[in-house]
């Protein structure tokens, strides 16, 4: 199993998950996550040689339906849900240039 979690690891996953973590919170998260990851290490005891990973219990794959248009929400419904919208569009801060980088 991998080495114990560092503060840098916490900052890295916070950045990947788009979460802002203060210095004080980073240490708290590090300690809590390290405790959980330490507990999880017991999985190393299980003999899983030759066992296929099971991501899902459902046997079925690719449920298909006829490609027929159905009822859809009116654009006004979607617009009403959006934090900021105008003229049938959802508004967000500038995507390209200095404001981007997401």
């Amino acid at each position: 199993m991998p080495d114990e979690l560092s503060i840098e690891d916490v900052r890295k996953v916070a950045r990947l998950a788009r979460l802002a973590v203060s210095d004080a919170d980073a240490e708290r998260y590090r300690a809590e996550l390290a405790a959980v990851l330490g507990y999880i290490e017991r999985l190393g005891e299980v003999d899983v040689a030759g066992v296929e990973p099971m991501a899902h219990v459902a046997d079925a794959v690719n449920m298909l339906r006829d490609d027929e248009p159905g009822a859809a929400f009116d654009p006004s419904v979607v617009e009403k849900l959006a934090p900021e919208a105008a003229d049938g569009f959802i508004r967000v801060p500038k995507v390209l240039g200095e404001g981007g980088g997401a």
């Binding site: 991998p2 788009r18 973590v21 959980v36 999880i40 066992v51 934090p83 500038k94």
Partner: protein
């Protein structure tokens, strides 16, 4: 309050008005929910109007359906057009769903009346209902204790007699554990039995909508209504064996239950062990055959779960970015700042921790060691159940959770103490199997801080059906895939032998 079945029969026959039933439910909420805080929203006006419409149908000679006039509560991570769907999160505090979840549509089509939305741990992440952004729910049997979670509001609402039945969701035990701690029946169906359309996703390969009731008969009645294929959920099963009430009232003789050795795990408290042992004895005396079985990987379930569930959650919760709906941080200058500030302000500590855990176990360099390895253990856990059921075992019997309800705040700062609450319940989610918690007895544990040197720590358990304590203890049955009828049949035997179902926690 009467059972859901009795209410529906009386309303359909015109003997009782839906309006009087719904007003009784609303009065009960008004009387008790100031203390318990099971509900985040109550729909007085809408509920009464709908009840009157049902009474009008009956007066015209129409049949409103098998849940005619039955007041129901809905966990607030299940979408309803009525009111808001908040997931007990600041992120969705003002979110109004433009659609009903399929399970909700089916309840309404069957004549049920939604009286309110219930509290939960934020985004269903927790086992105590303390991680709600809007404050904790209290256990109706002891308001100083938690109701369990994450569906703690629905469990408390049913236990306190505010509604006869309620919907919850169960990803690792979030219906069954609070059902056990609140002394009600809680059932998680086979994965795919109930459509997940409109259930806000937490861990999609584990999530199922489940039912709270005070009896197995009521649980079966509601489960039957909400079960079945739905073209809006590709993982909902195309099956028509939805008569999950077919096994109710069966004989004890001929029932074979497997008791795995991990039912006696060290984590099990003395008082829970005492009720569990007494239940086993009473079942044997009634003619049930109890067989020792092995689930060799069951004790690794919690560890596998705390990789798989956060991994899926970190992906599912990526959608909360402030763009299309829900919260958006104010005064941001860039898209990236908008994402980061929205998520940091909108999610609570527990949710952020699980997102980070999930992100970590999926990240480059750790993915195989953590995530793929957990999926292999997951298959081992499923194979264990397959092997047990192949031996002719009808269901696997354990306690529902290691101990009775703990004090509010007692486990708040120790994630692992809380995660072990899921010891007996996560296996059914990982393996996709149906499972139910049934009230078995009452215990009277000492408070954690009260157990000190020189004190007698011995519990005072009640025999099944007895009155030895004031906190409910549940037992847990895991059944065969798609075997809800047989599972609830077995649960009805436990219910009859223990004799403590159907009670309302006194005010």
């Amino acid at each position: 309050m009467r059972s859901a079945g009795e209410i529906a029969n009386a309303v359909r026959a015109g003997e009782v008005s839906a309006e009087s039933v719904v007003r009784e439910s609303l009065d009960s909420i008004a009387a008790r929910d100031g203390e318990l805080r099971a509900f985040l929203q109550v729909f007085e006006t809408d509920a009464v109007a709908r009840a009157k419409a049902i009474d009008a149908m009956v007066a015209k000679g129409d049949d409103p359906g098998p849940l005619a006039g039955v007041p129901v509560a809905i966990k607030d991570n299940i979408c309803t057009v009525l009111g808001r769907t908040t997931c007990a999160s600041r992120m969705l505090e003002h979110y109004e769903s433009p659609y009903d979840a399929t399970a909700v549509t089916r309840l309404l089509d069957a004549g049920a009346v939604i009286v309110g939305k219930t509290n939960l741990d934020e985004f269903a992440m927790g086992s105590s209902c303390e991680h709600s952004a809007f404050g904790p729910t209290r256990n109706p049997w002891d308001a100083e204790r938690v109701p369990g979670g994450s569906s703690g509001g629905s469990a408390a609402a049913v236990a306190a007699g505010m509604v006869p039945v309620a919907l919850g969701s169960d990803t690792g035990g979030s219906v069954r554990q609070p059902a056990g701690l609140c002394g009600v029946v809680g059932v998680k169906p086979t994965y795919g039995r109930v459509s997940r359309y409109g259930l806000v996703a937490f861990a999609s390969s584990l999530d199922q909508i489940g039912v709270f009731a005070r009896t197995n008969a009521d649980a079966a009645l509601v489960l039957r209504v909400i079960s079945g294929a739905d073209e809006r959920d590709a993982t909902s099963a195309r099956r028509d064996d939805t008569a999950c009430d077919a096994g109710l009232g069966r004989d004890a003789a001929g029932l074979t239950l497997g008791v795995p050795s991990f039912a006696h795990d060290d984590a099990v408290s003395a008082e829970t062990r005492a009720v569990f042992d007494a239940t086993c004895e009473a079942l044997r005396a009634a003619g049930v055959e109890l067989v020792d079985v092995e689930l060799p990987h069951a004790s690794h379930g919690v560890a596998a779960y705390y990789i798989v569930a956060p991994a899926e959650a970190s992906s599912n919760l990526a959608r909360y970015d402030g763009v299309r709906y829900g919260r958006r941080a104010e005064g941001v200058n860039s898209l990236d700042e908008m994402y980061t500030r929205t998520r940091s302000e909108g999610f609570g500590h527990e949710v952020q921790r699980r997102i980070m855990l999930g992100t970590h176990v999926l990240s480059s360099g750790y993915h195989d060691a953590y995530y793929v390895n957990a999926l292999r253990v997951r298959r081992r856990i499923k194979q264990d159940y397959d092997a047990v059921f192949a031996r002719g075992i009808d269901a696997v019997l354990t306690p529902t959770s290691p101990s009775p309800a703990f004090g509010v705040g007692e486990k708040l700062d120790d994630p692992m103490a809380l995660y072990v609450e899921d010891l007996f319940t996560v296996g059914a989610n990982l393996a996709g199997l149906p499972a139910v918690s049934v009230p078995a007895g009452f215990a009277d544990p000492k408070r954690q801080e009260g157990v000190g040197e020189g004190e007698d720590p011995s519990p005072r358990p009640s025999p099944p059906g007895g009155e030895g304590g004031r906190l409910p203890v549940g037992v847990h049955l895991v059944g065969h895939a798609w075997g809800e009828a047989a599972l609830l049949g077995a649960a009805s035997v436990v219910e009859r032998v223990c004799g403590v179902s159907g009670r309302v926690a006194p005010a």
